[in-house]
């Protein structure tokens, strides 16, 4: 047995702990399960001759079990996903801080065994909580007559998700130095990555939906949880089931479970690689430059595949799909927007989502991969001693200019492909064929990426994140104040201010280049002036930061 898993059992599952944990889990599960079971079991049979007749109460255990299933699944998720994730992150960070992790790092066990040991050993008690819920699950499946094969599917994805969450927590624990911070950063990261990010699936980026258990739950289980005698799902449930029945990817249609496994598998693989590097040597960045490029290329491929159907025939699933199909008259649009602008708005939403998502990934990768001033200096000191003319460009200490340019290039390539696809499509009219509609976003992204890289390499964490906060968030907050003060009076000023932040400038840029969105005959604001201002600001920022970096490097 893996010694680290055995350690988890010894530490947290001694007979005394086992008894206490068992009783706790049993009480919580019994209360929740039986409450839902009895509630769902009751069926009110209306009186046969109202109003004098008396309604009768009938009991159907099948319905009770089906009603209790979702609650049980949530409780199981709470035990292993929420509590387990916090445990893995906080203990990893605690041991890193105290030096215990170094003891393990020094043992000749392969890093993979150490990672598995931490993933399955630390949350041993949480797994035991889960184990206690299993008899209830069996009762649910047998009494509720739930299809065994679908349940198996669901729990396979459940454990894949658990592994993903715990691995995320472990990597965060290895990276974040403070134990308490690590525990909460991990929980927030799990919420952000696997709960909020999947919502973007509704905006056309369908692959993001498959980071969670939800597609399998809605696609495979929910239709079987209907009460006996009912064959129609509620409005929301029906839409959810329809949304997650199949996954459009390029011109293919994939099963949600398969796609979930592929998506989660890719993330698990990259997290394994990151923790492998951190286990080998704490001072190594989580990703090397080639790994960063491969990961980013994979993300772009997934984005391309997910957005392909939308850019070829304008079709999309989820909220975006429903928005395209809506009658324009039913939706209140700003006066300046044309009434037939739904597909154009959808296009701006999808393009903005694509750019912002890519930019977020670029930011994370630059933060991890590009060397901070210390690492850069170490590289320079080494080449000086060895007598090399320059740092090999794939080394962790090497400047990240080429790396950042490659990231920007991959994003531009994907965007150009999608754009040209839309231009050549007969179903999509809401796209501009002018070269500036590619050139402007591409140049902005390049300046923005290179500015990020220059900032990362010349400042430490405080400077880097402070710079980002100032440049990316402050303009948005300033716009908020201006909008509250006088929305119409300040609208041009708001455009100028918001063009300083990429988060708000990218949608502006895309709206500007959308031919069916702005009524050019009656413009309320001068969008082209703010676009020119934003482009100039991003260029100046790039030049200043790069010059400053060059100056500090030559010292």
């Amino acid at each position: 047995m893996n010694p680290l898993i055995q350690r988890g059992f010894r530490e947290r599952l001694r007979p005394k702990n086992l008894l206490a944990s068992g009783i706790f889990s049993l009480i919580v599960t019994t209360t929740l399960y039986l409450s839902c079971f009895f509630d769902g079991m009751q069926i009110v049979i209306p009186a046969q001759d109202p109003p004098s007749g008396v309604a009768e109460l009938a009991f159907n255990p099948v319905n009770g079990a089906r009603e209790a299933f979702t609650a049980l699944l949530i409780l199981q998720g709470f035990f292993v996903m929420f509590l387990g994730t916090g445990r893995v992150a906080s203990v990893t960070a605690e041991e890193k801080e105290s030096g215990l992790l170094d003891y393990q790092r020094m043992t000749p066990m392969p890093p993979l065994s150490k990672i598995f040991g931490y993933l399955f050993g630390l949350p041993a008690r949480e797994y035991f909580f889960f184990l206690v819920t299993l008899p209830f699950l069996f009762h649910c499946v047998i009494v509720g007559k739930l299809p065994f094969w679908n349940i198996l599917h669901l729990y396979a994805v459940f454990f894949c998700s658990v592994l993903l969450y715990h691995l995320t927590a472990h990597v965060i624990g290895l990276v974040v130095p403070k134990p308490r911070a690590a525990s909460w950063v991990a929980r927030l990261a799990v919420l952000g990555l696997y709960i909020f990010l999947p919502i973007l699936g509704q905006a056309g980026v369908s692959f993001l939906s498959f980071l969670t258990l939800l597609p399998t739950y809605f696609g495979k289980i929910l239709p079987h949880l209907l009460a006996e005698g009912t064959d129609k799902l509620g409005r929301f449930e029906g839409q959810a089931v329809q949304f997650w029945q199949e996954v459009p990817f390029f011109n293919l249609t994939l099963s949600p479970t398969t796609f979930t496994f592929v998506m989660q598998g890719l993330i698990i693989l990259s997290l394994f690689l990151a923790s492998y590097r951190k286990w080998r040597l704490d001072s190594l960045p989580a990703f090397s430059k080639p790994m960063g490029i491969i990961l980013f290329a994979t993300l772009q491929f997934l984005l391309l595949g997910s957005l392909w159907p939308f850019f070829t025939d304008g079709q999309a699933s989820g909220l975006l799909g429903r928005m395209i199909q809506l009658d324009p008259a039913q939706v209140g649009l700003p006066n300046q927007l044309k009434s037939d602008s739904h597909p154009a708005i959808a296009m701006v939403i999808v393009q903005s989502t694509f750019f912002l998502l890519s930019l977020a990934a670029i930011l994370i990768l630059i933060n991890i991969v590009c060397p901070n001033p210390h690492r850069r200096l170490k590289g320079l000191q080494r080449i000086q001693r060895i007598g090399l003319p320059s740092i090999p460009w794939l080394a962790d200490e090497a400047p990240g200019a080429l790396f950042a340019t490659l990231l920007a290039f991959l994003t531009i390539l994907t965007y150009t492909t999608l754009h040209l696809l839309a231009v050549s499509s007969e179903s999509i009219l809401s796209i501009s064929s002018s070269p500036s509609s590619i050139l402007f976003p591409a140049s902005f992204l390049l300046f923005c990426t290179l500015s990020l890289r220059a900032a990362r390499e010349q400042w430490f964490n405080l400077g880097f994140w402070g710079f980002l906060g100032l440049l990316w968030l402050t303009p948005i907050l300033a716009c908020l104040v201006l909008a509250i003060n006088d929305f119409l009076g300040n609208s041009q000023l708001m455009l100028y201010v918001s063009s300083l932040s990429p988060v708000t400038f990218i949608p502006q840029l895309l709206i500007h280049h959308s031919p069916h969105l702005i009524d050019e005959a009656n413009p309320l604001v001068d969008l082209s002036a703010s676009i020119q201002f934003g482009m100039a600001a991003s260029f100046v920022c790039f030049i200043l930061l790069t010059y400053n970096l060059w100056k500090s490097s030559s010292k």
Binding site: G99, L281, R385
Partner: protein, 313 residues
């Protein structure tokens, strides 16, 4: 054996260790001494594969620590300067965890765990939870864990920092017996008497550089330090200074008071020469009640090196 060549460790622009080179032979106990911030812990961590040096080479038992860290780790036993332990494990479970992690199996594992607990005097507390141990006991548990896989190279950072006098003596005996078994021991300490009693070779570090290294005798010779002999008298002997100045290898060191009952003299020679000096003094009628050839104290050397301006060592 440990070979450190040209080791350089930078934290940003600050050089914690600079061009450090030294060797520790098998069966030898090498003590690193230096003030806080001298770079001792950085050196130990770099040898233990836990810190990536900026430059240099570290070879442990023929394996490069930088290029083959996994192989080198199996030879290494590292004990840091503070004793973190797994609080909820019993002492024997703590050792057993590492015995397993180092690949020990079956009966051999049990024997090794018991041996290491016995060697560190923890066998009576093997069933206690680590969180119930005192700081000193935790240090012992950590040492037991370090010894459990029988490493041939031991890196001990401040091993006696939290130990009581009895435990320190025990630790010294353990380290010396390990060295006799042929293991290589590299330790750092602030407790100079501990270094003096335990180590056969010393290295003085200051500002990341090795100021002086070797055995005490070698350092004495290198620094041209004179040996001191203390001569005790039952009562003052007025002509003593004249007699001393007539012996070529002696000169008065401290006391010039003719009525003093104890006099320290500088001596240039070996032990045979010292015996001849004693004979001459007795023959001259000096009533010698004590004749002690003082060994160089690590403390003296440390203070001497510390007080010198940098670059004049």
């Amino acid at each position: 054996m440990i070979e450190v060549k040209d080791l350089t460790i930078h934290y940003g622009s600050f050089a914690a260790v600079e061009q450090l080179s030294f060797n520790v032979n098998s069966g030898s106990v090498f003590g690193l001494i230096g003030p806080n911030g001298a770079g001792k812990t950085s050196v130990l961590k770099a040898i233990a594969t836990l810190l990536e040096p900026t430059f240099g080479e570290i070879i442990v038992q023929g394996q490069s620590v930088l290029h083959q860290p996994e192989q080198a780790r199996s030879f290494l036993g590292y004990m840091p300067d503070f004793p973190p332990v797994y609080e909820d494990l019993k002492v024997w479970e703590f050792c057993d965890l590492f015995a397993q992690a180092y690949g020990l199996r079956g009966e051999n594992r049990k024997i090794k765990v018991l041996e290491s607990l016995h060697a560190t005097g923890l066998n009576s507390q093997m069933d206690s939870l680590c969180k119930t141990l005192s700081r000193g006991m935790r240090q012992r548990a950590l040492l037991a864990k370090t010894l459990v896989h029988g490493p041939s190279v031991l890196l001990l950072d401040e091993p006696a920092a939290n130990l009581d006098p009895k435990s320190r003596i025990d630790l010294r005996n353990i380290i010396q017996s390990l060295a006799k078994e042929g293991k290589t021991v590299l330790l750092s300490s602030h407790i100079l008497s501990e270094i003096e009693d335990t180590c056969d070779t010393l290295g003085f570090m200051r500002n990341g550089k090795m100021v002086q290294s070797g055995t005490l005798e070698e350092i004495d010779q290198a620094r041209k330090r004179k040996k001191i002999i203390t001569i005790g008298l039952p009562s003052p002997f007025p002509n003593l200074q004249e007699i001393i100045s007539s012996i070529p290898c002696l000169s008065v060191f401290e006391t010039t008071d003719p009525m003093a009952k104890e006099i320290k003299v500088c001596f240039d020679g070996d032990e045979r020469e010292a015996a001849r000096v004693l004979n001459k003094l007795v023959q001259a009628g000096v009533p010698v009640s004590a004749f002690v050839m003082n060994k160089t104290r690590v403390e003296d050397l440390f203070l001497e090196l510390e007080s010198q301006p940098e670059g004049k060592e």
